[in-house]
């Protein structure tokens, strides 16, 4: 493939291509999902399923009430921990029940791009509203989203925009807006940060209506010179000027590349995608459509090269094995996500989670194995033990009674990395546990024990961590 062909559409739409698209655009998938995707054409599946507009979901409820519209005040504050958990469970359910929509992956993308930390913002209503904003613009216009984020209450709190006033500017948001959210480091000066901070002054939050508002006495109405332009700029002007710079589309496409392809950007690909982004005036839908169908996205360089995020790992298991989604189990997922260093709504800092190799340490690696073991062994919470019914799961494969083919089918579905023959032999030996191939049957008395060993061994392979 020549460099000019990176964005060309793939010519073969087969099971490998379908599994790759599903593994990168959804939080886990089943064999039925692969079959469904292949029953459509590539264009039809990507444009009319993955990228289709979806209705907005109903808000989370705690104890029968919609807490997301309750004012932020000290009386309500006593409920905030419960409301925060209810928000976490709500979002996990959103991911588990996402259908074929790419939207939830993009909500994650934006929340790890325009970063806030719940532990800093401390108001679950604002975190919900920000999450809702990301969902509304998940596949939409990035310029509009950036403007909305700039005056979003959670962001105003997190990066001190609500304390940025004419008499005492606070540079925090202005710096991160450029460094991390839009144009990238090296494309602006310290003076541009100071000038942008002045243009971003005047915004405050109404804790009763849960909205932000413009307080003109706090706004610096003087002339600003920003990225070479001069005028009495406000926040929308600042965002507009930033998006006229070529570096902005490239910065955003590099970020998309790192999330959906590989953590070391291929600059040729990034530049070509940035042209599409600019040509479509920063509307995301056509950009993602091109990305998901592109030859380089589907190349062997990219397939199986991404280290799963903790949330991808955790939620995929729930989806694949059909484990319960009640709040007790979702709370287990929540605590595990924390152990694996991806506590939902609490990234480590304003850069967000860096991902890929940063997910893996000598502690988080064994913790992942510990989790995958636990969903096979069973997790006891209160009087209920949550576990995978391995025999039923095995029988969902048409090859369940033919050991060699069964190992082939299961590994293809669960492991995106091309598995060596030695690995498959090892897994087959684990499954048979000394018995002969022709003796294998899921109806054997030992089948459950053997399947449990097999699935634990499979998910302990380092290859399983790759997507």
């Amino acid at each position: 493939m020549g460099r000019s062909g990176y964005l060309n559409k793939i010519s073969v739409w087969d099971a490998d291509a379908a599994r790759h698209i599903l593994s990168r655009s959804l939080f886990g998938f089943t064999q039925q999902d692969v079959d469904f995707a292949l029953s459509k054409t590539l264009d039809d599946f990507v444009d009319n399923y993955l990228l289709k507009d979806q209705p907005e979901p109903a808000p989370p409820i705690y104890n029968g009430t919609d807490w997301t519209i309750q004012p932020h005040n000290s009386a309500n504050q006593t409920n905030y921990t419960n409301w925060y958990y209810s928000l976490v469970f709500w979002w996990l359910n959103m991911m588990i029940n996402q259908g074929f929509s790419f939207r939830e992956k993009m909500v994650w993308f934006w929340s790890n791009h325009f970063v806030s930390e719940s532990s800093t913002v401390q108001v679950p209503q604002f975190i919900y509203l920000q999450n809702k904003l990301f969902r509304r613009y998940a596949l939409g216009n990035i310029i509009e989203l950036t403007k909305k984020v700039t005056i979003d209450p959670a962001m105003l709190i997190y990066l001190n925009g609500n304390q940025n006033t004419k008499s005492s500017p606070n540079e925090n948001y202005a710096r991160e807006l450029m460094e991390l959210f839009t144009i990238g480091i090296g494309n602006y000066s310290e003076a541009d940060i100071k000038q942008a901070a002045r243009a971003l002054t005047g915004w405050r939050i109404n804790n009763t209506t849960l909205t932000s508002y413009f307080d003109s006495p706090r706004f610096d109405g003087g002339t600003k010179t920003f990225l070479g332009q001069t005028g009495n700029f406000g926040y929308e002007d600042i965002v507009n000027i930033i998006f006229t710079k070529p570096a902005t589309a490239e910065f955003l496409c590099r970020k998309l590349y790192k999330e959906f392809l590989y953590y070391q950007p291929n600059e040729d690909y990034v530049k070509q995608l940035a042209e599409i982004m600019r040509a479509n005036n920063f509307n995301l839908n056509p950009v993602l459509s091109t990305l998901l169908k592109s030859q380089y996205f589907h190349s062997e360089d990219i397939r199986g090269a991404k280290i799963k995020s903790p949330i991808e790992l955790l939620v995929a298991a729930v989806k694949q094995f059909g484990i319960s989604t009640d709040n007790n189990f979702l709370n287990y997922i929540r605590t595990k996500s924390k152990d694996l260093q991806q506590e939902i709504f609490n990234p480590p800092d304003v850069r967000g989670w860096e991902g890929q190799r940063k997910w893996m340490s000598t502690t988080t690696y064994p913790s992942r194995n510990n989790y995958t073991d636990s969903i096979i062994n069973g997790v006891k919470i209160g009087s209920i033990t949550y576990r995978t019914d391995v025999v039923a799961y095995a029988r969902s494969f048409s090859s369940s009674e033919k050991a060699v083919q069964f190992v082939e089918d299961v590994t293809k579905l669960l492991i995106q990395f091309p598995l060596s023959q030695a690995r498959k032999d090892f897994l087959l030996a684990t499954l048979l546990d000394g018995a002969a191939v022709y003796d294998w049957s899921t109806y054997d008395a030992q089948a459950k024990t053997r399947l449990e060993k097999f699935f634990k061994a499979l998910m302990r392979l380092p290859e399983f961590q790759l997507s």
Partner: protein, 511 residues
């Protein structure tokens, strides 16, 4: 696209904050000499994440009126400041450090930074972790590079104890190297041991693809966990710290674990602990107070443990942060990103005191930030050379160029060490120059000699004798401070006499 092109593009992409873990980058490959490890010394690094407000940490009493004019709300009351010297005090939350200072176990290294300060958290953190120039992108950590020199047979013959330990669950770029991440990271030795139980490592070579690189990386992480979990637990069980670390919060717990492991006999040369939360753009006072209190209390307990348990000779502790903060406070009762800041060095065998001058609040950079006096890599060079006993050439290989070391450590002759004897007598230009009030004069002796180092004024009148004794062959750093003398601005000469060797150089005092 080939891997090489990827990396090329990566380096060319000026718009990216790059902090890539342990990629083997051939461009940096050099043949390694087979050298000794760490001479038994241990360096404990403490990262203060977020950019510590140096000015409210170490307060210039000699410029107190300017200080309060820049910090009308955030100023520390003069009568609350814990005085270290007449000119320099520390935040009241650091009171636990005062006895250490008085006992000669604490050094404040003033004004540490680097040319063309970057004010991004992430870029500046990368610069500190990789020891790169402000405009260069390096992909391995300075400690990672040191460790590959100290353990040249790794990974073929892995050492019996971990090369580095990080308390925490996310591996730091500090330990990235061409051979992958070199640190074992965990929160707690017991739970780490439980966790690792049952993991197996394998040696199948992964395919030569991008995805294969990632698989190789995963296997290395698994192998490190398996190899070291038992020895870490064994040493932690054996060690028995006596001090109470509870006032240090979870950070105190980190240092307690490190004390545990050192006392248990773990021979790991580098540890990293992290205290997060220094990005105080708003309502700084309480946050900063809490953080500094945890730091001060923990350092106090840690040093006391090391002394009581008999390990104080081996260990020094060094704090660092990506930048200091703006001298003028902002309107949110906080401070924005700044430039140079002080570092703390704690240990028994250090040259204790205030090293360098208070920040000059009347002479700030264009951005209104403190200018740097010392490059942070001078401090690293000092640790590598004077603590770990590396040669000048080895230090240069780790830090990419020569950095003048600073007289921060007491140099103890260790007979077991293979000492590097200079080829000739040399007298180097003093640093900094021009200077006020202190400067360092470096010289090398190739043979045992009677040495004098004296300072003269332009009229040839002797103003100071810095050295007047027999000395072993080796490299020396002599510090000259005008504090003890009545000297005016102008040209001075310093002269080294050692045996038949005589050399004179000029230096300028600029008040």
């Amino acid at each position: 696209m080939k891997r090489r092109e990827f990396l090329h593009n990566l380096a060319m992409a000026t718009g990216v904050t790059i902090s890539v873990a342990g990629i083997p980058i051939k461009a940096f490959a050099r043949p390694f000499m087979n050298i000794q490890s760490s001479s038994g010394k241990i360096l404990v690094l403490i990262q203060l994440k977020g950019g510590n407000d140096g000015l409210n940490t170490v307060i210039p009493l000699d410029q107190y009126s300017i200080y309060i004019s820049k910090r009308p709300n955030l100023k520390i009351d003069e009568n609350l400041i814990v005085k270290l010297t007449d000119a320099t005090g520390v935040h009241p939350a650091l009171a636990p450090l005062k006895p250490l200072f008085d006992e000669g176990k604490l050094t404040v290294i003033q004004g540490v930074g680097y040319p063309n300060q970057n004010r991004s958290h992430f870029r500046s953190t990368d610069i500190w972790l990789t020891a790169s120039d402000s405009d260069k992108y390096i992909f391995d950590g300075w400690v990672g590079r040191y460790l590959l020199k100290a353990f040249p047979d790794y990974p073929n013959i892995p050492p019996a104890h971990p090369m580095a330990i990080q308390i925490g669950s996310v591996q730091s770029g500090l330990f990235d190297s061409q051979q992958g991440g070199l640190a074992v990271a965990f929160d707690n030795p017991d739970s780490f041991y439980q966790l690792v139980n049952g993991i197996s490592a394998d040696a199948d070579p992964p395919p030569a693809t991008i995805a294969g690189d990632e698989l190789k990386f995963l296997k290395e992480v698994a192998a490190l966990s398996v190899k070291y979990a038992s020895v870490i637990k064994e040493k932690a069980d054996k060690g028995n710290p006596k001090q109470d670390y509870s006032k240090g919060g979870t950070f105190g717990g980190q240092l307690k674990i490190i004390a545990d492991l050192i006392a248990g006999g773990l021979e790991t040369p580098v540890y990293l602990a992290t205290l997060d939360g220094f990005d105080t753009h708003a309502n700084q006072a309480n946050t900063h107070q809490t953080l500094l209190s945890r730091l001060g209390e923990s350092l106090k307990s840690f040093q006391a443990d090391l002394e009581q348990l008999g390990f104080a000779d081996k260990v020094v502790v060094l704090t660092f942060s990506e930048f200091g903060r703006r001298v003028t406070e902002n309107g949110s009762l906080g401070t924005d990103h700044g430039a140079a800041l002080p570092m703390f060095l704690v240990g028994k065998n250090i040259q204790a005191g205030i090293f360098g001058l208070n920040p000059d609040l009347t002479n700030l950079d264009n951005n209104g930030d403190v200018k740097f006096l010392y490059d942070f890599r001078q401090v690293y060079a000092t640790m590598l050379k004077d603590h770990f006993g590396m040669t000048n050439q080895q230090v240069k290989d780790v830090l990419f160029k020569d950095f003048q070391t600073l007289p921060l450590l007491k140099l103890i002759t260790n007979v077991e060490d293979e000492k590097e004897i200079p080829a000739q007598f040399t007298l180097s230009q003093n640093y900094p120059n021009p200077f006020n009030p202190e400067t360092v004069i470096n010289y090398q002796l190739s043979a045992f000699s009677f040495v004098t180092l004296k300072v003269y004024d332009v009229l040839g009148k002797e103003v100071a004798t810095l050295v007047n004794e027999y000395q072993q062959p080796g490299e020396y750093n002599s510090q000259f401070s005008i504090r003890n003398y009545q000297l005016s601005s102008g040209v001075y000469f310093y002269q080294l006499r050692a045996g038949n060797f005589v050399e004179t150089k000029k230096m300028i005092l600029q008040k």
